[in-house]
């Protein structure tokens, strides 16, 4: 318990979290501070490239693990199953329509790569190692949740939501391609490749993450300001409960697979986090009648800050305790 608190306090006082808080505060105070869209996208390209690349280098260094395949599979299953859990909870806790509930559920099966990145940076600071291929697991967990949600809807008699364009857009969305591509580049070039570009992908990483989270804070804060009315107390409670529930599924999977402490923690983080890029875009195409204010505010305005500030230290503490590290 004490360890959790220390970790949480350390986490809350890191420049990364404080930058996020600054963004939220600036947005709530209606400051005109803003990061240009192109710059925010460039920062995210940098983060995806760096995190994928470093994951690949780590795999090339430690050799390929027998558990890789199983872990990927577990990720896919979690991503597909968590929307069912979320949908059930939403039916109990809220009065959302079937459509809105399915759309929200899709977000919680999928993942937030920024939460993942923030968690790796916390692990690193704490000196806890993790399997390099967890970035590949992250990529594998992006899409299955969307299919689950559409299946939930089609069971309600409302079909024909997917076209082949949407398939391609989901499976080959920019983040997945960049993350996986950089992972393979890191794997192929290994330590030697890392040596060449480490003063780009390693040294400034945390600083870039600060600026990126500043922008995320601005975006989340604006969403909260403009749309918080869209959330009933039940929906809000779901946004805080679901990540914890999800993380428990991730914990179970991680322990079953026998992952390292860091691996278990990241599996929890992936299960706990909710998408706010890939899934919203897919929902706008496939379920345009679902209300974006609900799923965006919930995912980015509630669950993301929760995971970033309290969730990550909690998951890391659990993983540490239960893997006996």
């Amino acid at each position: 318990m004490e360890q959790i608190l220390t970790l949480a306090a350390n986490n809350l006082l890191s420049p990364i979290i404080l930058s996020f808080a600054l963004g939220v505060a600036a947005a709530l105070a209606r400051s005109d501070l803003s990061v240009p869209e192109a710059a925010a996208k460039a920062l995210s390209i940098y983060l995806l490239f760096a995190i994928g690349f470093k994951g690949g280098v780590s795999v090339s260094a430690h050799g390929i693990d027998a558990k890789l395949g199983l872990t990927l599979l577990a990720g896919v299953i979690l991503s597909a199953a968590l929307p069912m859990v979320a949908f059930g909870l939403l039916n109990v806790m809220t009065k959302l329509s079937r459509l809105d509930a399915a759309a929200v559920a899709a977000h919680y099966g999928s993942i937030s790569i920024v939460t993942f990145v923030a968690a790796t940076s916390v692990l690193e600071s704490s000196g806890i190692a993790a399997e390099g291929y967890m970035v590949a697991v992250a990529a594998a967990m992006e899409a299955p949740a969307i299919l689950s949600a559409l299946w939930l809807i089609s069971r309600g008699g409302d079909g024909r939501r997917m076209d082949s364009d949407l398939w391609r857009e989901i499976l080959l969305n920019g983040s997945i391609v960049l993350l996986v591509g950089a992972f393979f580049i890191g794997w192929a070039t290994g330590e030697e490749g890392l040596a060449e570009i480490s003063s780009f992908v390693v040294a400034p990483f945390k600083g870039v993450l600060c600026l990126f989270l500043l922008d995320m804070g601005l975006v989340a804060g604006r969403g909260l300001r403009g749309r918080s009315g869209a959330l009933s107390p039940g929906v809000l409670a779901f946004g805080l409960l679901m990540p914890v529930v999800g993380s428990m599924f991730g914990l179970g999977a991680g322990l079953l697979l026998g992952l390292s402490t860091g691996g278990v923690a990241l599996m929890m983080v992936l299960s706990a986090s909710a998408s706010y890029i890939a899934v919203p875009a897919a929902m706008r195409v496939a379920l345009p009648e679902a209300n974006p204010s609900i799923y965006l505010t919930l995912s980015l305005g509630v669950t993301f800050p929760f995971n970033l500030t309290l969730g990550i230290p909690l998951y890391v503490a659990f993983a540490t305790a239960l893997t006996g590290a």
Binding site: V219, R222, R284, V285, G301
Partner: protein, 103 residues
């Protein structure tokens, strides 16, 4: 200089639907269109600005399509089939164009 009657159709639509709209327009026999970026807007589904978009997924674009009057109905039906379930606005203006052979 000689000008020719035509119609200028302006469709404001979610960016994510733009490729689908383009395809529908081309299928409807449209010979060309121009896509403008949109900074922000306001409507029944609330106000938004591109710089402040949550998730940055839901920006909009404006597609401008100049056609001969006799083709405007086909165009609008094609556009409507895409826009129908989505937020967005379609407006039509009478215009004159140079180089009519292009449309």
């Amino acid at each position: 200089m000689q000008t020719h009657q035509a119609k200028r159709v302006e469709i404001t639509i979610e960016a994510i639907m733009q490729s689908r709209l383009s395809e529908a327009l081309i299928k409807a026999g449209v010979t060309g269109f121009t896509v403008l970026p949109v900074l922000g807007g306001s409507g029944r589904s609330g106000a938004w600005v591109r710089a402040g978009e949550i998730g940055r997924a839901s920006g909009m674009v404006q597609v401008i399509c100049i056609v001969r009057a006799e083709n405007v109905d086909k165009l609008i039906e094609a556009a409507f089939s895409v826009v129908e379930r989505h937020i967005g606005v379609v407006s039509i203006v009478d215009c004159e164009v140079l180089r009519a052979e292009r449309f």
